[in-house]
Structure formats: C-alpha cells, structure tokens
Amino acid sequence: MSEDRRRILDMLAQGKITVAEAEQLLNAVGSPVEPAEAPAVKTRPRYLRVLVDDDSKGENTHVNIRVPLQLIRAGVKFSSIMPKDTQDQVSDALEKKGMHLDLSELSPESVDAFVEGLGDLTVNVDDDKTKVRVFCE
C-alpha cells in the first residue's frame, strides 16, 4: 500500500474526512501499481487438433483427430527420401483431390518453420450444417 493511500485511510479512521471524500481521494491517487506480470511462457504446441461437426446428411457426424506435430515432421522427413517419381505420383494424386502440394519442395527445415508457425493458427469454418475447427494445442 502506498503512503498516500495509507494517509487517506488514516484520515478516514480519525473522522477527519467522510467515506465519500475518502473514495474521491483514493480514486484521485489511482490504483496501486501492480507488479509487472511475468511474461507468459509460450509453450510449444505438441498436437494439431481437427474437429469436424457435420449435420448435412441428416445424421450428426463428429470427427475429432489429434495429430502429434512430431508425426508431421517425421512424415515429411520420410517423404523426402522417397524416389522422385514416387513423389511426383503422390503430388499428382493430391492434385486430383484439389490439394497442391509438391513433396519435392518440402524440406525438414521448412516443416520446422511451418510447425512453429502453426502454434498461433486457428481455423474456424462455419457453414449452416458443417463446422470445422483446426488448431494447435
């Protein structure tokens, strides 16, 4: 407690000022200075969570997947040793599904940066009957 606030409370206790005056004075003095909060420790995310709620078929479909980010790293490292023509086949198959991903361009370093960036990512897709949520935890 600061000296000013103590003096005001003393004056109130001695009856020199009223409660209303004490309140005004305390407001004028301002709130005590809060000790600086320790900077929040940013923990590295470990999992990618994918939640899907789909009511479009009439029946409620709920999908909840938790993927360790380490698995994504390991998968990319594994894909980097695949022969070039196999990588091309996988890329073509993904392209047909509407996903543009060239496996030959993926490197473990780029994935580390990507995974690092995923920590702040939250994707929410809300449709009338479908909800998709992707985030790291």
Partner: protein
C-alpha cells in the same frame, strides 16, 4: 529418447448393440520387428547398393525414418462418431 507407442486402443461402439474394446499391446511387436530388422539388414544393404540411388536411398534410410514415424505416433487420437456408430483409436 522417444519410444514408439506401447499400446493401441481401438473402440468400436454401436449404441445399444455391440461394444468392442481392443487393447493391442504394440510393445510386444517392436522387439520382434527389431530382431527381424537385424536379420534382414545385410540383405537390405545389398539391395540398397544394387538399386542406388533410386530405391537404395529409401531402403537404406527408410528403416530409421519409419521408426521415427512410428515413434511420433504416440499420442495420435482419432474419434469418429456417425449417428449411433462410434470408432475411437488411440495410440498410447
């Protein structure tokens, strides 16, 4: 040191009908695979040298990388619920 998952748990639930709850002790499989890997290592090495670099690289480094993928599966969870059917898979 990261170890591969020791247990895979699989639940198949049909509400009101059946409930299958499987605990698969994966930790019993890893020593067998390790022994198999050691036995096959010379053959894999020869095959890798014969097919280098196209498939040789994959044969030579594929084992350790695959082991890394298996280790990273610890913590993987898949839960799918469709109407009254539910399938849950956990790697612990």
């Amino acid at each position: 040191m990261i170890f591969p998952p020791s247990i895979a748990r699989m639940q198949i639930i049909d509400e009101g009908q059946r409930r299958i709850n499987l605990w698969l002790p994966l930790l019993l499989i890893w020593p067998v695979l390790l022994a198999l890997g050691i036995v096959l290592a010379p053959l894999v090495l020869i095959a890798a040298l014969a097919t280098w670099p196209r498939y040789g690289r994959l044969l030579l480094f594929g084992g350790p990388q695959l082991f890394g993928v298996l280790c990273a599966m610890r913590g993987l969870q898949v839960q799918v619920k469709d109407g009254s059917h539910r399938v849950n898979i956990y790697f612990l």
